[in-house]
Symmetry: C2
Subunit: 458 residues, 2 copies
């Protein structure tokens, strides 16, 4: 199988380049801070039934926009033989369109640079975060509604020349979105291209991006998922650290495919759209749509006002989590190569039953109560990790256009020496190269796993 | 990316071995003929409302089994922006369980042999065809219903030791089944294993199987799809013919992924289950469920009686096509390597919008009327091919448990020298190695493409 690209070397060179000649990491952080200071943003909660242009559909109780566009909050009834809960009902975001998450790149001084956008999203903890060059819905980019054309779209839709570096269909949060996917795309424009540089855009290298991902809430979820799709390929050995040596993996690639096939055959996931107002154990309290015991998340209404030279304002529903979650990979050196412990996880909104998730992913439960009260496998190994075991730890926001102040603790933990190589049926060890191979194909790695992998520095 | 297996060499050795020391191709053909002569099979059409244990559901008109098991015939309403028909309604087979299609293999005289079954299916044109060792529904293999245990199941469910050679989730006919998939699996038992050899089973090599696929209606669809998943991997150059040289492909692997991503983003496929009795333009004529103009296919009822020492009989609905179809790959040498022209095809029952299909796939239209009346791209290139251009041509049955006397002409045609390398947006050139890579991942190649690839002899 020959699947390597000539571009891989360029990617790697950029990845290893810690500082750009164009902008330093400190400059970028400062630039973002200034962007944040310059803009006045007000986000206030309003009752869902008082939202401008949004309403409860009289028949279904679904929360819909008057145009029928954007997205809607609907109900689902879920039946599955995975996990301990055989059926439940919940609200979910239904947004069937495939959007663009695109990053433009260009060689500057011989090094590939990424054009990132300082973007305000109402749900972001730091309101302004680094985002892809382009975030566009299908209505945007096909100009169905003749609205404002997104900046730089011409490099993504073929109107202007650019090389495709990656172009993958990737999933969103399966616990919150119904089968939502985006097109994750990186384009390279010729060095000679005189790219317009708009006010909220900045050039940085992949190495700098990864450095910034180690900070809390600087690089947004959309940027992290696009970056996670980058392959490092086969390069000279001296450039490689053991993360990329795929040849001595514990599990053969086809064995991992077989493991996935077996679990997809074993587990059933039946999801049916139902009216939001009929969702059991959830209801509207006059302000938000909540679970009766306050668990999981709420659907809230927000009024957003952004004053950035001109004032823009709108109302929208958002998802507010009940508490902070934890996503973590456990890694272990096996046969001289670092392996990631992945979990085959069924989530209600998954496109194809299950996706590969981090070792620990608890977004909705109160994991801090600890092992005994909330028995998530391997959570103790993560929470009790010593400083030396922690490769990576940062708080990262979920997509701030839909999720209100949702941040999760992202961690990569090296297992203790006595951590068993034997793992339960739903878990499997895979090398970074094996995971990066799966990422290229639709719906194998979930967004939480991809977000963590985006932080890996080789 | 290292994804090769130690087993590949064995596969190849078998593939190149034209005759087995155990049974010759002529013996196998004769053995199948005798099996066919020995068994008395009566398949007669009966009105759908007279079927034993099957009935029209009073509410929906769906055709269902009294146990709620097996499968049902339901209706779907389809909306898509692919092709020329933006919406339609049709009957479809709904069978949500994932079944096993499994072949047991074992080295005999150092050569890998495949244990194939002579299996009677009521819809087969040759009633008895070579089938996988195991064809089992989930109810069978999980023994939910405590029925007869399928032969050899113990080698597939882990009860007895065997190595997994391939284990993939593969799609069925998207025009007839709603998102149906099967687990395609090949196991290798140790040479020392004293495998029981039952009456209707026979050993043959992969080379022999492929030889038999060049005959009409000898190797059934289930066997062909399992065989199509076999990788040939990287072997010494002198063993390779240009089909497998992936290094000088016209399109980089990631370019093909990008092409798929783009089309999956472009095309929408909305499929909704509706009551069979409400399906527009279809109705029950007192015997079968037909399209009003007699197009596409009919749902018929059959009474089956098989007398093979003991008499077994049952009733069931089946799909009978309106006419014979055509599936064909066009291949062309480009940059010294043979490339297959694949089509991104949207079919109503597809799991993920589109799958890669043969260059020409017309199962439901009367393609013999020719180019002008029924304009299928590239059909003239196939129908006008000279003898020298035809690599492969055989009539092959669809799965005889669901499809009544359905056979399609399967062809692989080498393009004329002046055939353009430039192709329309929904078409793409790919090497055999690239296609075999996609096969390993879920829902990339459709069953018609896989059936054709199973015939390729390297």
């Amino acid at each position: 199988m020959n699947t390597s690209k000539p571009h891989e070397i360029d990617f790697l060179k950029s990845a290893l380049e810690k500082e750009s000649e164009v902008n330093s990491v400190d400059f970028i952080l400062d630039w973002l801070r200034r962007k944040n200071d310059q803009v006045r943003t007000v986000v206030e909660q309003v009752p869902l039934d008082k939202l401008d242009k949004w309403s409860f559909d009289p028949q279904t109780g679904n929360i819909v926009h008057q145009s029928g566009r954007f997205f809607s909050i609907e109900g689902i009834r879920v039946e599955t033989n995975w996990g301990k809960v055989p059926f439940w009902e919940q609200p979910i975001i239904n947004q069937p369109e495939i959007g663009y998450l695109g990053i433009l790149t260009k060689k500057i001084g011989g090094i590939l640079h990424f054009l990132m956008q300082a973007k305000i999203e109402p749900g972001n903890i730091n309101l302004v975060q680094l985002s892809p060059t382009l975030q566009a819905t299908k209505s945007n980019y096909t100009r169905v509604h003749k609205g404002k054309v997104p900046l730089y779209i011409e490099y993504f839709n073929g109107e202007k020349a650019a090389d495709i570096l990656i172009d993958q269909l990737q999933s969103e949060q399966g616990a919150r979105f119904l089968r939502k996917r985006n097109r994750n795309i990186i384009m390279e424009v010729p060095e000679s291209e005189d790219l317009p540089e708009y006010d909220n855009f900045i050039w940085l290298t992949l190495g700098q991006l990864k450095k910034l991902i180690s900070h809390d809430n600087i690089v947004n979820m959309d940027a992290r998922t696009v970056v996670s799709g980058i392959q490092y390929g086969k390069v000279n050995d001296h450039l490689l650290n053991p993360l990329l040596k795929g040849d001595s993996s514990l599990n053969d690639f086809d064995d991992i495919i077989s493991w996935i096939t077996k679990l997809k055959s074993k587990y059933e996931l039946n999801v049916k759209l139902i009216p939001l107002k009929s969702v059991a154990n959830w209801g509207y309290d006059g302000l938000a749509y909540n679970h009766h015991e306050g668990k999981y998340f709420s659907v809230i209404g927000v009024r957003v006002e952004i004053d950035d030279r001109e004032v823009v304002s709108w109302d929208q529903p958002m998802i507010r989590p009940a508490q902070e979650g934890l996503v973590a990979f456990i890694v272990k050196e096996i046969k001289g190569v670092y392996h990631f412990l992945v979990q085959a996880k069924v989530e209600a909104g998954n496109f194809d039953i299950l996706e590969l998730a981090p070792t620990v992913q608890c977004l909705t439960g109160n994991y801090r109560k600890g092992y005994n009260e909330y028995s998530v496998p391997f959570i103790n190994d993560v929470l009790s990790a010593s400083k030396e075991q922690i490769w990576y730890s940062a708080r990262q926001s979920e997509e701030g256009g839909r999720f209100y102040m949702e941040q999760n603790l992202n961690m990569i933990i090296e297992a203790k020496n006595d951590f068993s190589v034997e793992v339960p049926e739903n878990y499997c060890w895979a090398t970074l190269n094996q995971l990066l191979t799966f990422i290229r194909f639709n719906n194998y790695l979930n967004i939480e796993a991809r977000s963590l992998l985006s932080a890996v520095i080789i």
